[in-house]
């Protein structure tokens, strides 16, 4: 038995990322072809949208059917294709590494996008869940800069998100949509999709500007003012928007144009991960860790604590703002109540669950908690018991999170896997 397990482990350890992507692609393609008939044959009301989790919790009698579906559509095809294509995928991955790394990364991302696209095409629910998950990745990663890499404790992320959401929405609604609040559309809507990045960047900038208001008083002297000032900031932003009739006050702001499609959200998420990863791996970014771990030594080695912290804080806020702008355009409606303490708890949970000081960690934390939140939805109130419990377990057994302090090295990710030396 143990031998068997070891054999399986070692034969799959040779599968490169490319092989797994091939497998996933075949699986989602199979679902396109045979998903509906198979679900019908198994007596399922429709295809299981989230790997069967929701169905199993809702109707326990359907558990066997859901498990068979997941096995036949996902698990077996992915495993078989990944294993069978391994040597081909390894050769291909090695060949691609001879070209500039950009090429290999683009191919991997293209495949990943194809998988996500085909998977989500099967239901509108999947599309929205996927988009919100990608946005959660951006939020979590940007908060990790402050709470992980910089070692401070900031509570203002929902506030930055709100600033970004409202600024980007005001931009697009005022310019491209005819509505009650802003009147006539000022520009032809054909220009819209090209201006959308500008709207998001404007949202990010407004969030960064808000961050400056926190950063200047908080990083002036040593001490833990940031947690309190940033918490106050979150509440101030919320009540400010509630009292701003121009953007709808507590009723919220709607009729955002439908520009946040899956490729757009995916593209921004990739850009966010890439840029943040670049930053934290540069020597300028490593200065954050130095200041966190031993500030006196960092200063003696010419690192300017205040400048380093302020820049990183604004940078993180920018990405939270961009994520907020996307969020508003995915839901096509925002109201201030969204950006309160519950949102804060969600993002903090994702950061600490996934792992501090780690890009992998933020991706793992955001994806797993987003999907878990959706999967456990049928449990209703119990969900709010299970997720915190899980968090507590992680905090006990891995105090810095699941994959903390691990460098996200793209080259290692896309390289071929060698046979393990015996």
């Amino acid at each position: 038995m143990k031998q068997l397990k070891e054999n399986i482990r070692s034969s799959f350890s040779r599968v490169p990322l490319l092989g797994w992507l091939f497998g996933a692609l075949i699986a989602v393609w199979l679902e396109h072809l045979a998903g509906d008939p198979l679900a019908a044959a198994l007596g399922l009301p429709k295809i299981p949208v989230l790997f069967g989790c929701v169905i199993m919790l809702k109707k326990p009698v359907l558990i066997p059917a859901a498990v068979i579906y997941v096995l036949l559509i996902y698990a077996l095809p992915v495993a078989a294709v990944a294993r069978l294509s391994a040597s081909f995928a390894n050769r291909l991955a090695a060949r691609m590494l001879n070209l500039p790394i950009f090429f290999s990364v683009a191919i991997h991302l293209g495949l990943l996008y194809a998988v996500l696209h085909m998977w989500s095409e099967m239901s509108a629910y999947r599309v929205i869940t996927l988009k919100l998950t990608l946005i959660a990745v951006m939020l979590t990663l940007s908060l990790n800069i402050i709470n992980g890499y910089m070692g401070e404790f900031s509570c203002s992320h929902p506030g930055f998100m709100a600033l970004g959401a409202y600024a980007a929405s005001a931009f697009t609604v005022a310019l491209f949509v005819e509505d009650k609040l802003f009147g006539q559309a000022l520009l032809p809507s054909a220009l819209g999709p090209f201006m959308f990045p500008l709207a998001l960047i404007a949202g990010g900038m407004v969030a960064a500007l808000g961050a400056l208001a926190i950063a200047i008083p908080s990083f002036r002297t040593r001490g833990d003012y940031l947690a309190i000032i940033s918490l106050a900031f979150m509440f101030i932003v919320k009540s400010m928007i509630e009292n701003l009739e121009v953007v709808g006050g507590p009723r919220g702001l709607s009729s955002q144009p439908d520009w946040a499609n899956l490729p757009t959200v995916f593209g921004w998420t990739v850009a966010c991960v890439w840029i943040i990863n670049n930053f934290v791996r540069s020597t300028l970014g490593k200065a954050l860790n130095a200041v966190r771990d031993e500030e006196t030594a960092a200063n003696a080695m010419t690192v300017d604590t205040r400048r380093t912290k302020i820049i990183a804080f604004l940078f993180a806020a920018f990405w939270a703002g961009v994520a907020g702008g996307l969020f508003a355009h995915v839901l096509r409606y925002v109201n201030p109540a969204t950006f309160g303490i519950q949102k804060l708890a969600e993002v903090l949970a994702m950061v600490y669950f996934g792992g501090l000081n780690s890009v992998y960690g933020s991706i793992v934390g955001a994806v797993s908690l987003s999907l878990l939140g959706e999967a456990l939805r049928p449990l209703e109130i119990l969900k709010w018991l299970i997720i915190p419990l899980l968090l507590i377990l992680v905090m006990i057994f891995r105090p810095t999170g699941l994959v903390a302090f691990k460098e996200f090295n793209v080259k290692n990710l896309v390289k071929p896997r060698q046979r393990r030396k015996e």
Partner: protein, 256 residues
């Protein structure tokens, strides 16, 4: 003109006068020693000159510039490098990253480079990495470059600290008990290293030491600090035979 001049520098910690009217002049390339019993205020003198504390009174002039009260990172970037008595290394960071990071103020690729990984950034990162390697070689620890510094044995950690301080390209180096806790063999190696960096970079060095033997061998001029005051200053020979110094050390430590 001396490289560093300290005039009548004093510091009060609440009611306690930790340093009283301290004077110092160091010429370029000079090696000086600062000795004194536990709690005499030696580390505090370093912290004052490097900007960790702001003096209650007095002036510090480095390279013709008044640096009193400036922030430590600015003072460091003018060319005052230091090591710490209780090794202040960064958790999670490798040896190489330590020595690269100490070149922080020389990085010019800016935020654009940091965010987008430009070719300018790759060039500069490669250059500071080369420099880091050459310093690690000088310290004889280049084979440890990819280890997490805190996992290394004590002697190697001391060398990492020294390499890190040198990476800031100091004109004067402050060494705070670089041989504390070392065995005689490590001690001899550390003395050789200090001689080597002095010869190679022509730096001025201010050395705090408990072990008088080391100060006597390395330094041209030695100051003795007791209760925050300089009680004697002179060549190692003069210091060794100064009755006030002998009295201060009597019963606590032998003179060799």
């Amino acid at each position: 003109m001396p490289l560093l001049r300290v005039e009548k520098m004093s510091l009060d910690f609440g009611g306690l006068r930790a340093v009283n009217s301290y004077d110092l002049e160091i010429e370029p390339g000079q090696v000086r020693g600062l000795i004194g019993p536990n709690g005499a205020g030696k580390t505090t003198v370093f912290n004052l000159i490097t900007g960790v504390y702001r003096p209650t009174e007095g002036n510090i002039i480095f390279d013709g510039k008044k640096i009193t009260g400036l922030q430590p990172h600015r003072i460091a970037s003018f060319g005052l490098g230091r090591t710490f008595q209780n090794l202040r290394l960064w958790r999670h960071m490798t040896v190489l990253e330590h020595v690269k990071l100490a070149q922080y103020s020389k990085i010019s690729y800016g935020l654009i480079g940091a965010f987008f990984g430009t070719s300018g950034r790759r060039r500069e990162e490669a250059a500071i990495e080369d420099k880091a390697y050459s310093l690690l070689e000088l310290m004889g620890i280049d084979h440890l470059a990819d280890q997490v510094a805190l996992n290394l044995p004590y002697g190697a950690q001391r060398r990492v600290e020294m390499a890190r301080a040198l990476a800031t390209e100091p004109k004067i180096l402050f060494l705070d008990e670089p041989t504390a806790g070392m065995n005689p063999e490590e001690l001899a190696q550390m003395m050789a290293i200090i001689r080597r960096i002095h010869a190679e970079f022509g730096l001025a060095i201010l050395l705090i030491e408990h072990r008088l033997k080391m100060v006597m061998e390395l330094c041209e001029i030695v100051q003795t600090l007791v209760f925050g005051e300089v009680i004697a200053e002179g060549t190692p020979d003069e210091i060794q035979n100064d009755p006030k110094v002998i009295e201060a050390y009597l019963g606590t430590e032998a003179l060799h």
